[in-house]
């Protein structure tokens, strides 16, 4: 049985559906990558799992984590899960830490809440967590404020907060996008090492296909609020089946750069209000036929073993 199982997840703001038909699984200890251009619904997927959608957002469908149905869980019980078995780190390490509390206080708070530790042992544990995320001079840093740390160190501190209770699932929403290239590599190495050490599952959201091919076992490629293609990372990189996945891979010369514009196809992701009736990729797809505009294509299994939402997947793959 998988650790997390998402079925037909949809997220709406008022009458606007920004995400729909989202289904995927994560097994214990597995790393799942979620990729897609800006606005494709990656963060909304993550926040829906955490139960932290922005004001006005609502989720429908089913999210099963361990043996709980998260969307049906009362807020009080979600609070017991968050930070304890289910943790998340965000894109902006600058803004994600509270400026008026020390790093140590912010780590200790989780331990005091979920582990019932007293002030002193939580402080001591905070120091060892800072060492775990490889922050030098942890004994000194623990009593410093976020503004005294570099961007990379802040993201490490965020990771320390997230890992404080050894969660079963860590959701990382573009954890390195806001950082310098050299710092990025360090954070990714850290994440890779930690997940092996702690055996936790990771949902890694990224723009960076290089990162995905590097550390993810399976991938979900999203486009305009729907799954375009999903499957084993090796299969998707070796033989992308969905025209959008193909375009994504063609857009980068090597597998170590971020997704830029898609020169092969041009155009941008439509806003949720302008989603096309049929296949949402149709306006940009070089293989589009009139039949593509009838309705959203269902996922079908491809020759490489992935699942792709494209009616012409047999021909174009």
């Amino acid at each position: 049985m998988s650790l997390l199982s998402v079925r037909d997840l949809a997220v709406s703001f008022g009458g606007t559906r920004v995400l729909e038909d989202m289904s995927f699984d994560i097994a214990e200890g597995e790393v799942l990558g979620v990729v897609g251009e800006s606005g494709s619904g990656k963060s909304m997927t993550a926040l829906a799992i955490m139960g932290l959608l922005p004001m006005g957002g609502s989720a429908a469908g089913r999210i099963r984590f361990e043996d709980r149905d998260l969307l049906a869980l009362p807020e009080r019980e979600m609070q017991r899960l968050r930070g304890e078995r289910l943790a998340m780190i965000f894109q902006e390490p600058m803004a994600s830490l509270n400026p008026v509390f020390t790093v140590g206080e912010q780590i200790a708070e989780v331990l005091r809440r979920h582990r019932g530790m007293d002030r002193r042992s939580a402080h001591r544990e905070a120091i060892s967590l800072l060492k775990l995320v490889e922050i030098a001079a942890a004994e000194r840093r623990v009593d410093e404020y976020p503004h005294q740390l570099s961007g990379g160190m802040r993201q490490r501190a965020m990771i320390a907060i997230a890992l404080a209770c050894r969660p079963k699932l860590l959701i990382a929403d573009e954890p390195t996008t806001a950082l310098d290239a050299t710092v990025q590599a360090g954070i990714l190495d850290l994440l890779r090492g930690l997940r092996r050490e702690l055996g936790m599952a990771v949902l890694l959201i990224t723009h960076d296909l290089g990162v995905v091919s590097d550390i993810c076992e399976r991938v979900v490629v999203m486009y305009a609020g729907r799954v375009a293609e999903t499957g084993a990372a090796d299969a998707i990189f070796a033989r992308p089946s969905h025209p959008y996945t193909q375009a994504l891979l063609a857009a980068i010369p090597r597998l170590d750069g971020p997704i830029g514009a898609l020169p092969a196809i041009g155009g941008v992701v439509p806003a949720p209000a302008d989603f096309p009736q049929g296949c949402r990729f149709a306006p940009r797809c070089p293989h589009a036929l009139p039949a593509c505009e009838v309705g959203p294509p269902a996922l079908r299994t491809t020759v490489s073993g992935t699942d792709a939402a494209c009616i012409r997947v047999q021909e174009v793959a």
Partner: protein, 316 residues
Amino acid sequence: MLRYAAGRLLAALPVLAIVSLLSFGIVWIVPGDVAVEMAGPTATAEELARLRERLGLTRPWYEQLAGWYGALLRGDLGESILLRQGVAQAIVERLPVTLSLTFTALAIAFVCGTALGVLAAVRAGQAADRVAMGTALVGFSLPDFWLGLVFVYVFAVLLGWLPTGGYVPFSQDPAGWARSMLLPAAALALSQMGLFARMTRAAMLEVLRQDYVRTARAKGMPGWIVIGKHALRNALIPVVTVAGIAAGVLLGGAVVIESVFSLPGVGRLIVGAIQRRDYPVIQGGLLLTATIFVLVNLIVDLLYAALDPRIRHGRR
């Protein structure tokens, strides 16, 4: 932190120097002859001469200035002509009344105002928000002396719960002191409470959108800790600025409220002195008011630093 505090203290010194110079200068700035103003139109030339002598106006200005500062450093603010009492003593006698009133009002305004503001922000757009902001607006619009009169009528005259006025020193009877302060402080506080409520609501709405609030929730913290600790600590930083201004406004409002509740405070002393052209008292009052302002701002600066580590570390 110590260096920061020392710096703020040093920065306050020039302000005090300028204010003391202005207080000295009042006698020179007012149009006409101070002695004539004080003694009134019926005074004889002889009386005027004697008054000028007592005020030291016959000496050259630099001697007067030196004398003023010399006395000031000794804590001597001169003699009130009309009260036949030292100005410093007259002020010290009445200061506890005014400070009690102002700071009780500030405490009421701050506590109730921030509470209303937080409630309104958390329930933004809902009924509770409209009720809280409506209350704030009403408080903001009603003049304090009018509220004072209504409070006296309702709570003292009709219901008889609290005294109509008068002051009981805290050292004599703390409970009596609280009873004597409640109505005047509440009347004074209401307008500033509205101000605090609006400021807090705006600051909270801004803070609640920040990523670190989401982080606190992602850590599994219960709602009241997310709001009351993570958000409020940040939202209070701009609200504290308002506290400095509010303290000044309340000090000004205390003058009227002291009259409504017959409280023997500095406000009434100064008003009386202005009516009767008692210049030494006016000078002392000016100096006192300015000193309180400077002190309040100093406290605000220190609170700022206590709330925001970025200021303690000289950033921002």
